[in-house]
């Protein structure tokens, strides 16, 4: 990357399966207020651009962009929606800084998943309409197919997937932002009910609600204003063909590609030992394994990380423990890393954390994801 971009503040609200007392807009206002306080900025005066990561329909709007400005201080200002996860979002925010559009950029994403009663139908609408959707294959079935294909083609054992579930759920017990922490045995995970085998109950992250806001600034601005930022050293995102269109099961091409590009932009050699912690997408348990495998580059390296030698994997408890936050999933991972690097992660704090890697994925049926590298 031509230069680093600083994350100078973060704020959030919610992190429950159902935030029943606040509307979407109020949830966003709460998160934004806290972020601006953390960053000591006035959105009406200091912020040059606002980006919201959100997709239509989850919130029951056909044009969600309309409903964003007021509660994050963006009314009458340069604001846009990037319907993607926050890795793409933070990449675009960084480009606004680097291009010289703005010194300070706000990135927002939220989930009000419980408002949507027809989640399955919304997911189905994401499928190609002529050659896929008429099959009546839902997201869980597609995930089960991919899980099967991944395990069979790589030789990972299902027990290794169970281990990820157990450790994520256990970590989540201590994360105040997690709603789905549990102390489960491998046996309980393995024998939980299966909707579409090999996928079982605990393999899919349940939905949760939250609003999250990050404030970014140019390094120059951050220094001038005596911020104590976390730096975005590099970010990259990429799309490959989904497995059923020829992308293959074993490695997630988008994860591999964006990891390589991000490390190159940061001027780093590809080695996960450069990081103190990783927040890797685990919307489905097997995806955590697949994503880790894709960036670690080998089975032995992947197993080494899972065994606890090297960076800490998903100290937050991941999506399996915190919940699937829809478009706020990736910004949640960025938030966890921001808190870790600032030493503010509380009971889930990784000791002396200086560097972190975030990896994300857009979910089924996409093959899009990204990687962001953070340090302090």
């Amino acid at each position: 990357m031509p230069e680093r971009v600083a994350i100078i503040g973060a704020g959030y609200e919610g992190f429950r399966p159902l935030v029943s007392d606040l509307s979407t807009r109020e949830l966003m206002f709460e998160a934004a207020s806290r972020a601006y306080d953390d960053a000591s900025v006035d959105p009406r005066r200091d912020v040059g651009s606002f980006i919201c990561c959100t997709e239509d329909l989850w919130e029951g709007w056909s044009i969600t962009d309309e409903m964003v400005p007021d509660q994050i201080g963006a009314a009458g200002r340069p604001l846009c929606t990037i319907p993607a996860d926050a890795i793409t979002g933070i990449g675009n925010a960084a480009m606004h800084v680097l291009a010289g559009v703005a010194d300070v950029v706000v990135l927002e994403a939220h989930s009000k998943a419980a408002d949507a009663l027809s989640k399955k139908q919304i997911e189905d609408l994401g499928q190609e309409p002529t050659l896929m959707r008429p099959l009546g294959v839902d997201t869980d079935t597609l995930a089960a197919l991919e899980m099967d294909g991944f395990l069979k083609s790589t030789g990972y054992k299902v027990e290794e997937v169970d281990e990820i579930v157990v450790s994520s759920k256990r970590r989540a017990m201590h994360n105040p932002r997690a709603s789905f922490g549990a102390s489960l045995s491998k046996d309980e995970v393995a024998h939980a009910s299966a909707g579409s085998s090999p996928l079982r109950k605990f393999d899919r992250a349940p939905f949760a609600e939250a609003g999250i806001v990050l404030v970014l600034a140019s390094e120059r601005w951050a220094r001038k204003n005596r911020c104590d930022p976390v730096y975005l050293d590099a970010v990259a995102w990429s799309s490959s063909l989904p497995w059923f269109d020829g992308g293959g099961f074993s490695a997630a091409g988008y994860a591999k590609d964006s990891y390589s590009k991000a490390m190159r932009r940061a001027g780093k050699k590809k080695d996960l030992r450069a990081f103190d912690l990783l927040e890797v997408d685990d919307t489905f348990s097997y995806k955590a394994l697949q994503h880790l495998h894709s960036i670690a580059g080998s089975k032995s390296e992947t197993r080494r990380v899972i065994a606890g030698a090297g960076p800490v994997l998903n100290p937050s408890g991941g999506a399996l423990g915190v919940g699937n936050l829809l478009e706020a999933s990736a910004i949640h991972r960025l938030l966890e890393c921001y808190l870790q690097l600032k030493g503010q992660a509380g009971p889930v704090q990784v000791k002396d954390a200086r560097t972190a890697l975030v990896q994300s994925w857009r979910g089924i049926p996409t093959a899009t994801g990204g990687v962001a590298l953070l340090s302090r």
Binding site: V19, S20, D21, L22, S23, T24, R25, E26, L27, F29, Y36, D42, P43, R44, L57, G60, P69, D70, Q71, G73, A75, K112, A114, D115, A116, L117, S118, Q121, I122, D124, L125, P129, T130, R133, P134
Partner: protein, 171 residues
């Protein structure tokens, strides 16, 4: 199109093609259900409507009284400060006459749509609603209007608890 280009891609499917089933179409239907949490501001607004009252929200930063009410002021970016009971009268800011339904099908009788600036709120603070008990040609911008409420027992805490606005003092 560039004058350097001679081929313009695209295959038109005409109305006749559809009638004649010339192409293989895939049909799909979805009913997306929602339960939107009303939150603090809209929840209170709906409660007021049920009681036959229109409530706004005051910002002490800019001094505006806003309707529909919200818990934050978008100009000052600060929380709003208090509830203000507005009157159920107002002024037509603009209006239009709809001859079609939301799916673009024709209506039997046109409906009159208006933005009504509510008395007690700040200037230009309007809400979207319908006008009734008036001929389309008699509607004027600036016209004074009053809410016509549903009977108390029929109200549910909804914007439709107001049937429509009618000219102040009747027809």
């Amino acid at each position: 199109m560039s004058s350097k280009v001679s081929r313009y891609p695209g295959t038109e499917v005409t109305h006749d093609d559809i009638e004649a089933n010339s192409y293989l179409m895939t049909h799909y239907q979805a009913e997306l259900k929602y339960a939107w949490t009303s939150g603090v501001a809209t929840g209170r607004y709906l409660k007021g409507l049920k009681e036959g009252e229109i409530w706004g929200r005051r910002c002490d930063g800019c001094g505006r009284v806003m309707v529909p009410p919200r818990m934050y002021c978008e100009l000052c970016f600060r929380p709003t400060d208090g509830w203000v009971k507005l009157r159920d009268t107002g002024r037509v800011v603009t209006y239009s006459i709809a001859y079609v339904n939301f799916d673009a099908s024709r209506r039997q009788d046109p409906i009159i749509v208006a933005v009504v600036e509510v008395d007690g709120a700040s200037p230009m603070m309007g809400i979207l609603h319908l006008l009734g008990e008036v001929d389309p040609e008699d509607v004027k911008i600036g016209m004074r209007v009053q809410a016509v409420w549903k009977k108390v027992e029929d109200r549910s805490g909804a914007i439709t608890d107001i049937v429509h606005f009618r000219p102040l003092g009747g027809r």
